[in-house]
């Protein structure tokens, strides 16, 4: 069993990402947990190393140089616990997203019920659904077998049947899975998760038990037709993900050993942290976390006891980039660009970047293309995630983004931006928040690491979050209103703590800012015009306390949903203006 971290003082957290591995050190400073420093090194999941422990050791060595403290011994093993001479750490947690996408076959009965739950469950980790087998599948069993043999899935997720309900139909669906597994070489057989009718455990063991590399059971994701409960199955799937990675990539087992079993898929750890924060904040609004990295776009949302986690490798900015064109057009990517570039240039970019996922934009032109691609990827990811948000959540209009407070953002595309305004504009364009919300950039990508530590040490995440390790970009006010460009839609007055005040008139189609430094607070009085709604109700005004950030208070009057001008020249001019307003060049 994993040991508790509660009594530990220092914590080392390692995040093994697709491109980079980071070693992050947390320690108790003046009685409270603080993020101290981080060291980074290239991830070594790929050839010639094929061993993620090597990249982890390199990241720890870089961290040692920053800390001036020894963490590895002479044979490059982790020193635990902290030694009297100050070397070592008391505990380690690990998050992992590196590795090839996990090819998954989902099996269920009804398309809109169990198969839909299977899809949502599968999308909670780094998978790609390569085949779906259900009652309405027109293929014969032998064709299903051939499909599985051709696709060689790493994972099969089986759902279906309410507890004590249908079993014969599920049995029929399991036959091709069992036979295909039987025909595959032992080392190529998939891991199987059964999250259906709990009464079928014995039959499932008989049909596929001996033929899968590992057979796992979780409570039924659909205990009744009306109820969906993915949490226990997501937890089991997270464990299976780590086990699959242990088979695929050397070094995962060593990190598992070093951490005493505290190793989680990065996305799952993020989801756990968002659930945790949703409980802590207890607000009527939801909490949203978006992470756009090389391996995937990850969107986690918590709403008053309910949560969703969606991992979308198809929208990652690494090796899967050319696949983005299966979901969008080059013109749709280019609509976000402030530069006049051809679709051919963007297409070449997607393919070239996929060859070298860890490379970064060195020129302004390259960065503009990278940002346009990131925008479209995150926009699509957000659209896709929204479809799985629960019903009856706080929102201004059902077809718009729900109300969130706060929105946390991380991942290479956001933390690597050249200035906070660039990151903020990317988030405003893609998430299109409504009402009043605080936007926080996880510049050190700490959220998943805190999520990994949270179950063992619930003090650490709270204290680190409060410590300023995250960059508050500011408070964003986004009215929902119908108007024409240039029409005033909102007037606001910000009263500072020192008695000073500042005012802004927001016109439709524009962005405005009022300065409010990080750590400062103020009272913001909003007078809406033309029936605008900022969460008080249509046309209603109000006063709210706001906190500052790198960009103060930002007013986004560009409308929801954001409708970019179709004229390319005017659009590019507007984008340049918006970037300039938020502090860019």
């Amino acid at each position: 069993m994993p040991s508790s971290l509660v009594d530990g003082n220092s914590l080392l957290a390692i995040d093994v990402g697709a491109a980079n591995t980071r070693a992050v050190h947390f320690d108790v400073i003046e009685g409270e947990y603080r993020f101290v420093a981080s060291g980074t090194a290239p991830t070594t999941a790929e050839a010639p190393f094929k061993d993620v422990a090597e990249g982890a050791r390199n990241a720890i060595e870089n961290l040692q140089k920053i800390l001036g403290r020894t963490l590895l011994d002479g044979s490059r093993g982790l020193i635990t616990p902290t030694q009297p001479n100050g070397s070592g750490v008391d505990a380690l947690v690990v998050t992992l997203s590196a590795g090839p996408v996990i090819k998954t076959v989902v099996v269920g009965l009804l398309k809109d019920v169990s198969l839909e739950s299977a899809r949502r469950l599968t999308e909670s980790t780094y998978t790609r659904i390569v085949d779906t087998i259900g009652l309405t599948d027109q293929r014969k069993p032998d064709h299903q077998i051939d499909s599985i043999l051709r696709l060689r899935p790493d994972l099969v997720v089986i759902t279906g049947g309410t507890d004590g309900g249908a079993s014969l139909s599920i049995q029929k669906l399991l036959e091709p899975i069992g036979l295909a597994s039987f025909l595959l070489p032992q080392e190529k057989r998939p891991a199987v998760l059964f999250a259906g009718n709990e009464k079928m455990e014995a039959e499932v063991k008989t049909l596929v038990g001996e033929l899968a590399t590992s057979l796992h059971f979780s409570p039924n994701v659909r205990p009744s037709l009306e109820t969906e409960d993915l949490d226990p199955a997501e937890r089991e799937l997270a464990r299976m993900f780590i086990n699959i990675r242990k088979r695929q990539i050397k070094g995962v087992d060593l990190l598992d050993l070093w951490s005493g079993g505290h190793i989680l898929p990065t996305a799952y750890a993020t989801g756990r942290m968002v659930r945790f924060l949703a409980k802590v904040y207890g607000s009527k609004k939801g909490i949203l976390s978006v992470d756009l990295g090389a391996s995937a776009a990850v969107i986690a949302a918590g709403f008053n006891g309910k949560s969703t986690l969606k991992v979308m490798p198809q929208f990652g900015l690494g090796e899967n980039l050319p696949g983005l064109l299966n979901y969008t057009s080059l013109d749709d990517i280019l609509r976000w660009s402030s530069l006049d570039v051809s679709t051919g240039v963007v297409r070449d970019y997607l393919y070239q970047k996929a060859l070298y996922p860890s490379t970064i934009a060195a020129t302004r032109e390259d960065l503009a293309i990278a940002q346009a691609v990131a925008r479209q990827a995150l926009y699509l990811a957000m659209q896709s995630a929204r479809r799985d948000f629960p019903q009856n959540i706080a929102s201004i209009k059902p077809n718009l983004t729900p109300l969130f407070e706060p929105i946390l953002a991380g991942g290479g595309a956001l933390s690597d931006a050249s200035h906070p305004g660039q990151s903020l504009l990317l988030l405003l364009d893609t998430i299109q928040p409504v009402g009043v919300t605080t936007i926080i950039i996880d510049q050190n990508n700490l959220l998943p690491l805190l999520g990994s530590a949270a179950s063992q040490n619930n003090i650490l995440p709270v204290q680190v979050l409060d410590s300023g390790a995250f960059l508050s970009v500011g408070t964003v006010v986004s009215p929902v209103v119908s108007a024409t460009y240039g029409t005033p839609v909102l007037r606001a007055k910000l009263n500072y703590e020192n008695g000073a005040e500042a005012r802004v008139d927001l016109k439709y189609g524009t962005l405005e800012t009022l300065p409010l430094a990080n750590g400062e607070t103020g009272n913001l009085t909003i007078q809406t015009l033309r029936g605008a709604d900022v969460g008080f109700g249509p046309g209603r005004s109000g006063t709210i306390p706001v906190s500052g950030g790198a960009l103060g208070v930002v007013f986004d009057g560009r409308g929801r949903p954001l409708d970019l001008p179709s004229d390319a020249v005017r659009r590019r001019e507007l984008i340049k203006k918006w970037v300039w307003t938020l502090g860019g060049e």
Partner: protein, 351 residues
């Protein structure tokens, strides 16, 4: 910081593992000399299966069906052979729909594999068998020049290298392909149209070595039966000077293009191998490097994408790039004598 390495080397030892996708028979022996087209292992592989639900077809219980089934696992059956026959005055029967092998019997069902085909694994490079991998393949060693690329269409072949690229940014067009090139491996520059790929197939050539390929041609390139290796990437990129010099100076030699599909996890990369006579085995190329002054590098991202240079110094801390991003960087002296600052993650060591 660890540096990715792309091998472009004039003389090195090359050791390659050749593996069947499924278990099969290894046809070579230890220390045997092989040529690229020699078959080192073979396997039989059925891509299709037929599941016969005997119980349902004979309208009997599964247990009864199992008793009526006449075949057993591993039986080779001809099409039409009776697999099971029911009881009664006019008994129903179940016959093999196609020729095939029985792979499973039970639960009132019979599973057959049909449409079996032979998979032949070729050596791919000329060399010596230095290890046998039982039932899977062999390890082959050779010595010569090695040029690795970034994309391949999964094919492999050998032939005489002909240089049609007068310079690194040459463009291969239909007009440059004539019958004298039949059976050759062609060093070309960029390809910008599908007609050129098709014209090369029609000759046919034995391989194309390209600097870059338009992304819209990837599907067409995958369909070609001859190997296509891309050295630098997608779009209109000239060939990096290190690869171009090495390839162009080896024109008229016998070369092998193993346009293996790039797999970052296994390390499989498309490559050109030019076997050279040697008196003793040269050292193997270094798989791991750390960025340091003097190393030859290639730029992997604009500006100067594809250019070769050498590291003058690795800068301490983070450097601010023209994009505004900050990253560890190095000063690189390019082949045009210009010295630039480039982020380390945008460089790869060439050697």
């Amino acid at each position: 910081m660890l540096a990715p390495v792309n091998h472009i080397s004039g003389l090195t030892s090359i050791v390659r593992e050749r593996l069947l996708p499924v278990s099969g028979t290894v046809l070579v022996r230890l220390n045997q000399k092989v040529s690229p087209m020699d078959v080192v292992a073979e396997a039989r592989w059925a891509r299709e299966h037929v599941l016969l639900d005997v119980a349902r077809l004979l309208r009997v219980s599964t247990n009864a069906a199992d008793r009526l089934v006449k075949c057993k696992v591993d039986d080779e059956l001809a099409a039409g052979v009776e697999i099971a026959v029911g009881k009664g005055l006019f008994p129903r029967s179940v016959r093999a729909p196609r020729e095939g092998r029985v792979v499973a019997v039970g639960g009132g069902q019979v599973l057959m594999e049909v449409g079996q085909s032979k998979v032949e694994l070729r050596a791919g490079i000329p060399g010596t068998i230095v290890e046998i991998l039982p039932n899977r393949g062999a390890v082959i060693q050779t010595a010569g020049a090695l040029i690795q690329g970034v994309w391949g269409n999964g094919r492999i072949d050998s032939g005489l290298l002909v240089n049609l690229a007068e310079n690194p940014d040459g463009i291969l067009t239909v007009g440059k392909l004539d019958i004298s090139l039949r059976g050759s491996i062609i060093l070309a520059g960029m390809v910008k149209d599908a007609e050129t790929l098709q014209a090369a197939a029609d000759l046919p050539v034995r391989g194309l070595i390209l600097s870059s390929l338009f992304p819209s041609l990837i599907q067409k390139a995958r369909e070609m039966r001859y190997p296509i290796m891309v050295t630098d990437g997608f779009g209109s990129l000239p060939m990096n000077s290190a690869a171009y010099k090495l390839l162009s100076t080896n024109a008229k030699r016998e070369v092998t293009v193993n346009a293996e599909i790039f797999d970052r996890y296994s390390g499989a990369r498309p490559e050109v191998i030019i076997p050279l006579p040697i008196s003793s085995n040269p050292p193997s190329p270094r798989e791991v490097e750390t960025f340091a002054p003097g190393l030859q590098v290639r730029m992997r991202r604009p500006p100067f994408m594809g250019m070769i240079g050498s590291i003058v110094s690795v800068k301490p801390g983070l450097s601010v790039l023209p994009s505004g991003l900050r990253a560890p960087a190095a000063e690189v002296k390019l082949e045009n004598d210009q010295t630039v600052v480039a982020p380390l993650v945008n460089l790869e060591v060439v050697g």
